[in-house]
Amino acid sequence: MFSKILIANRGEIACRVIKTARRMGIKTVAVYSDADRDALHVEMADEAVHIGPPAAAQSYLLIDKIIDACKATGAEAVHPGYGFLSERAAFAEALAAAGIVFIGPNPKAIEAMGDKIESKKFANAAKVSTVPGYLGVIESAEQAGKIAEEIGFPVMIKASAGGGGKGMRIAYSLDEVKEGFDRARSEAASSFGDDRVFVEKFIVNPRHIEIQVLGDKHGNVIYLGERECSIQRRNQKVIEEAPSPLLDEETRRKMGEQAVALAKAVNYDSAGTVEFVAGQDRSFFFLEMNTRLQVEHPVTEMITGIDLVEQMIRVAYGEKLAITQNDVKLDGWAVESRIYAEDPTRNFLPSTGRLVTYRPPEEGENESGVIVRNDTGVYEGGEISIYYDPMIAKLVTHAPTRLKAIEAQAQALDAFAIDGIRHNIPFLSTLMQHPRWQSGELSTGFIAEEFPEGFSNPEPEGETARLMAVVAAYIDHLQNERRRAITGQLDRVIDVEFESERTAVLGEQSFPILVSGGEEDEVIVSFDDEEQPRIVESDWVPGEPVWQGLIDDVEVVAQVRPILNGVQIAHAGTLSAARVYTRREAELAALMPEKVAADTSKFLLCPMPGLVKAISVAEGQEVKAGEPLAMVEAMKMENVLRAERDGVISKIHAKEGDSLAVDAVILEFA
C-alpha cells in the first residue's frame, strides 16, 4: 500500500480523505492557499504544503504546484477530491508522467466522460438508455428547431462543456428554441470558452437518480446502488438520499447494470457516478458520468457499509476489488443535507465571515440504531471565505427506514448550532418536515414548486408549538430557581416564591401552564387544557445554544438563543420568540401595542467619518438585502456597507476617494 498520499483539495472532502487514509495507516499531505493557512485539513494532515494565493486558479488548480508538493514530500499518490482538478485528464496525465499515482480513473475515461457529447456516444454504444436528442454539433438555430420538432417538445438546449445549469435553456415551442439556442450558445462561450450546444428531450417532472460504480484496474466493475438527489435549488443539490424512494428492485438492477456497462466501455477503474434523469414512471435516461468521488457519496457509504475513499485508494494501488456485486447489500436509509453559508430568508444570498459558533450534533450511533455523521472542514472560530464553495458541512443520518432517517436528520439539524454567519439550516429543517418530501414524491422542481415565494421561517403550530412552550417553561423555571439563590436577600418573613401559574407566549399564541419542580431535576409543565402533565428532564444549562432533553421520555432538541426577557427557539423547521410570563405579566403584556418594524431609510448613510474606498453598485441597479454597496475606510479599517433590504439604487452621491463625514449620504434607494 502507499505510505504517503497527497490530497489536492481543501475543506470537508480533504478532511474526509485524510480520515480514511489515517485509518489505513497512510501518511497524508495537505495543500493550502493563503486563505486556508488555519484550515482544518491543514491541521489534520501529517504535513502541509503552501501552494499560493487564495484564488483557486493560482493555487488549487495549478497542476505544477501539486506535483511539486508531491515531490517535496515524497507523496506517492494524489487524491483529488471533487471539483478543482478531479476531472482534468491533463492532471491525471501529468501525475503519471511524474511517476505519481492518481487516485481516480484513467485519463482516457475522464476524457471520454468529460465531454457531454462524447459520453453520450459511449452510452449509446453500451446500450445505455439515453434521452432522445441530437448528439452532433448544432450549427444554427434553424437546425436546432428542426431537431426539436423531430424529438418532440419540450426540449432542452445545453452546453456541451457545461454543468451547474449554465448555458441551459428549456424550450416549449419553435420560437423558444431559436431564442434559447443563441442565448445558450453565448452563455456557453462566456462560461466555458466552448460554444458547442446540443438539444435533447426535456423530461417533465424529472427526478435525479444516480448510480455509484466502482471499478478496478483488472476489469471488474460493480454498482453500489443509487442515490436520489432531486431536491435541488437552481440545479444545485440540497438534499440527497440513498436509496431512492422511486426505484424498485427491478429498475435498480437495470440502472445498475447499464451503469456498469458504460463504466466497462471506458475501462473505468475507480469510483464514479452515472447520473440519470428519471420520469415518475421509473423510465430513466443517461445524463452524464462523473469521473470522481461525488459530494454526496456518504449516503452510499452509509447504506452499503463500504468506504469509497478506501476502495479508491486500494484500486489505485492496483488491488483487485475485494467486493463482488453479490456482496453489495443495501441496508437501511441515509439522508444527507448540505449545510451552506447562505441566507435562506434573503433569497439564499451567500454569507461569509467568522463562525462565531459552530457546534455540530454529536456523531456516532445511538441505541435505536440511528447513525449521525457530519463531514466538515471547518471549526468554531474558523472562517467561511469568499474564495471557495460556501459549504459548511454535510450532515448525514442513517436509520432502518426512510422516515426514521428523516426524523433523525430533523433532530440532528435542530442540534446543529451555527452563528456568526447566515446559513440554510432553518430551510433544511423546514424541508425535513415537508409532507411531500416525507412522502417521497419528489422532482427536481420540488423547491421551486413548494417555495415559490422564497423562504421565511414558519411559526410553530399544534404539538410543535406546545413542545417549544415546554422548553421555554423549563428554561424559565431553571433561571427562576437560580434567581431565588441570589445573595443579599432580605431576611425572609415571606419566602420569595415564583408563581407556578404562568403563561407561555410564542409569537401570537399563548398557553396557560402550571410549572413546578418534580423529583430530582425534573420539571413538570401542565397545560391548563390537558389532563396529563408533561415531565421534562434535561441537563441543559444557560449559555448553551442547543437545548436537549426528554419531554415525557421522548427526546426533543431545539436551538435556543436568549432574547430580552425570553428565548428564541428554533425547532422542527419553525422559529418563535418565546416568553414565559406570570399570568399577571401576560395580562399586562397583552396591553402593549405591537411595534411596527422601523422604516429603513431610503438613504445609505456613512456610519462614520471615512474615506470611500469603493462603490460596488451603479445607479439603476437592483440589489438584494445583504449585498455589498460600498466600502468605507475609517481609521484604516475597511468597513463593508451592505443593503439592509431589497431595492433599486436611484442615485449615488459619493464616489471613490471621497472623504465623508458621519451620516453623509452615500447613495439613495428608489
Binding site: 488555519d38 441570589i486 449559555g543 426577557n565 405579566e585 402593549m592
Partner: protein
C-alpha cells in the same frame, strides 16, 4: 368594628384606582401601564408595601380647592423586593393630575429617598408626569429641590435608577439626570428641559417631542439615556435583570448567583478572533460573551459611542463591569463621546465595588478639529482620571492595538491595573509602524527600500507585547483561549484587594 375594617378596604380600593377607570383606560390606550401595574411588574409578586397611599395635596389656589382630592397625589411610593432583595420605588401616576409634582407629592418621594439611603438599598423611580404642579408655585419648586438634594446625597451610596415611561420635562428631568442610570421606553417616553412649544417660541425651531427628546435621541445622540426598551413590560423585566447585577449599596459588595459556567473553560475559537490583516475589524462583543458567564451581558449605553463597549456581566457568578474598545466601530478609537461614556461607567463600578475587566484594542485618540474643539483633552482626561482613581480590582487584557496615550488610559499597569495581560497578537507602542518610521527616520522618507526595512524592524521590535512584557508592564502574555480562566483566577485573587486613596473632601475630576 367590621365596618371600620371595611371602610379601610374601601378607601384603599379608591386610592388604588388613582385617577379613575377612565384615565386608566386612556393610559392603556397610549400603550402605557399605570404606576401600580408597573410596580407589580417590577417587584416580586406580593412584595410591594405601599406608603402614603392617602396623602392629598393641600393647595387652595387657582381652583385646586374645588377639585376632587385624589388620594396618593400623583405618585405611588413604597418598597418591595426584586428576587428577595430590598428596593425602594416611586412611580409617577399619570392618571392623577398628570403625575404633576406638588408639595405633598414631593414629600412622598423624599420619604422614600430618605428610607432608601438609611436602609442602604437601591431606589428606582418610574417617570411619567407633566412636571411641576403650576398651581402650587414655589412649593412645588421647593419640593424638587428637596428631591434633587437627596439624589446627590445618595449618589455613590445606593444605586439610583430612573426609568422614563412617559413625559418627563422641565424640573422633572433633573432628578433622573442625577441618578446612576436612565432608561427610556421607545415611542411612549420623552425627556427634555423645554418642550417643542417653547422651542418654537424661543428659537423658531420646529421639532416634535420624539425628535427633541425621544428614546432614540437620548440613547444614541445625547447619551442622556443608558438604554431604551420597546414597552413597559420589557422595561420593568429588564430593570429586574439589572438589579440582579447591582450591589445594594457601596459597602455590601456584588451579589452572587450560582453559575452554570465553568470558570476554567477554554474557548479555542478565541485563538482565531484576531484577523491576520491588522486593518480588519472583529467584534469585541464576541470576546466579552465568550469570556463572561453564560454569555450574559447587560450593556449600558449600547447605542451611544459604539466605539467603546460598557456593561455588566458575571464571572464565577459575581458581577463585573466590562469596558472594551470596539474595533468594529471607528477601529475602537477613543473620542470625546467614548471617553465620557466609559469614564462614567468606570466611576459607577468603582463607587459600588464592582471589579472592572478591560479589553483593549485601541489605535489612539481620534484626531481632528471637531474633537479638539469639542474638548477631547478634557473628555479623554475623564477616563484617565476615572481609571486612575479606581480602587476596585482592575483586570486588563490587551488583544491587539494599544497605541500612544490611549494605552496608558485603558487601565494600564501604570495607572493602577492590578493584573494586566496581553494576547500574543498585542501591539503595544507609541504608534503604528508607518507613522513611527516616518518620524524616526525622516531622513529616509525618499528611499522606499530603507523605509520598508525600517518599518519591518519597527514592526518586529515594537508591534508585539514583548517589549512591554520585558519591562513588567504586562504581567503575562496569555493564550487567547485561556482568557476566561485567567480572568476568573485574577478576579478571585483580587477579591481581597485593599487600596486606599489619601483623604480628600472629594476629587476634582475634569468635568
Amino acid at each position: 368594628m367590621k365596618n371600620i375594617l371595611e371602610a379601610l378596604e374601601e378607601r384603599r380600593a379608591a386610592a388604588k384606582l388613582g385617577g379613575g377607570q377612565k384615565r386608566i383606560e386612556a393610559q392603556h390606550g397610549r400603550g402605557k401601564l399605570t404606576a401600580r401595574e408597573r410596580i407589580e411588574l417590577l417587584l416580586d409578586s406580593g412584595s410591594f408595601e405601599e406608603f402614603d397611599m392617602f396623602v392629598q395635596h393641600r393647595c387652595v389656589d387657582f381652583g385646586m380647592q374645588n377639585q376632587d382630592k385624589i388620594p396618593g397625589d400623583g405618585v405611588v411610593t413604597g418598597w418591595g423586593t426584586v428576587n428577595g432583595r430590598t428596593v425602594f420605588v416611586f412611580a409617577k401616576d399619570f392618571t392623577v393630575f398628570g403625575g404633576s409634582l406638588s408639595e405633598t407629592h414631593a414629600q412622598k418621594m423624599v420619604k422614600i429617598q430618605d428610607m432608601a439611603l438609611k436602609m442602604r438599598a437601591p431606589i428606582i423611580g418610574l417617570f411619567d408626569a407633566g412636571g411641576a404642579r403650576i398651581q402650587e408655585g414655589v412649593a412645588a419648586l421647593g419640593g424638587y429641590g428637596e428631591v434633587f438634594k437627596r439624589n446627590v446625597m445618595a449618589s455613590g451610596v445606593i444605586p439610583q435608577i430612573s426609568v422614563i415611561m412617559g413625559p418627563c420635562a422641565g424640573g422633572d428631568v433633573y432628578s433622573p439626570a442625577m441618578t446612576d442610570f436612565i432608561f427610556m421606553v421607545r415611542d411612549t417616553s420623552y425627556m427634555f428641559v423645554t418642550g417643542p412649544d417653547v422651542v418654537k417660541t424661543v428659537t423658531n425651531e420646529t421639532v416634535t417631542a420624539e425628535e427633541l427628546g425621544g428614546a432614540k435621541v437620548h440613547s444614541t445622540k445625547s447619551s442622556v439615556a443608558d438604554g431604551a426598551w420597546d414597552n413597559d413590560v420589557e422595561a420593568m423585566l429588564q430593570v429586574r435583570r439589572l438589579i440582579d447585577f447591582l450591589p445594594s449599596n457601596n459597602t455590601d459588595g456584588v451579589p452572587e448567583l450560582p453559575s452554570f459556567d465553568d470558570p476554567t473553560r477554554f474557548d479555542m475559537s478565541l485563538d482565531t478572533l484576531i484577523p491576520d490583516n491588522p486593518n480588519k475589524p472583529y467584534d469585541m462583543k464576541e470576546l466579552i460573551q465568550k469570556v463572561v458567564d453564560e454569555g450574559d451581558f447587560f450593556e449600558i449605553q449600547e447605542g451611544y459611542a459604539r466605539n467603546i463597549i460598557t456593561g455588566f456581566a458575571r464571572v464565577e457568578g459575581r458581577t463585573v463591569g466590562v469596558v472594551a474598545n470596539q474595533p468594529m466601530v471607528l477601529a475602537g478609537v477613543l473620542d470625546s463621546d467614548a471617553s465620557r461614556k466609559a469614564s462614567r461607567f468606570v466611576r459607577f463600578c468603582d463607587s459600588f465595588d464592582i471589579p472592572i475587566v478591560t479589553f483593549v484594542d485601541v489605535p489612539g485618540f481620534l484626531p481632528g478639529t471637531a474633537q479638539e474643539y469639542g474638548g477631547l483633552i478634557k473628555h479623554g482626561a475623564k477616563l484617565l482620571f476615572a481609571y486612575s482613581q479606581a480602587t476596585v480590582p482592575l483586570v486588563t487584557i490587551i488583544t491587539r492595538k494599544a497605541f500612544g496615550g490611549a494605552y496608558d488610559v485603558m487601565a494600564s499597569k501604570h495607572i493602577g491595573g492590578d493584573v494586566n495581560y496581553a494576547w500574543p497578537t498585542a501591539q503595544i507602542a507609541v504608534m503604528g509602524a508607518k507613522g513611527a518610521v516616518e518620524i524616526i527616520f525622516r531622513q529616509d522618507i525618499g528611499d522606499a527600500e530603507k523605509i520598508a526595512a525600517r518599518t519591518q524592524e519597527y514592526e518586529e521590535r515594537f508591534l508585539s507585547p514583548f517589549v512591554a512584557a520585558e519591562r513588567g508592564y504586562i504581567d503575562e502574555v496569555i493564550m487567547p483561549h485561556s482568557t476566561r480562566r485567567r480572568v476568573s483566577r485574577a478576579l478571585a485573587m483580587l477579591r481581597t484587594k485593599k487600596a486606599e486613596q489619601p483623604w480628600k473632601k472629594h476629587d476634582n475630576i475634569p468635568l
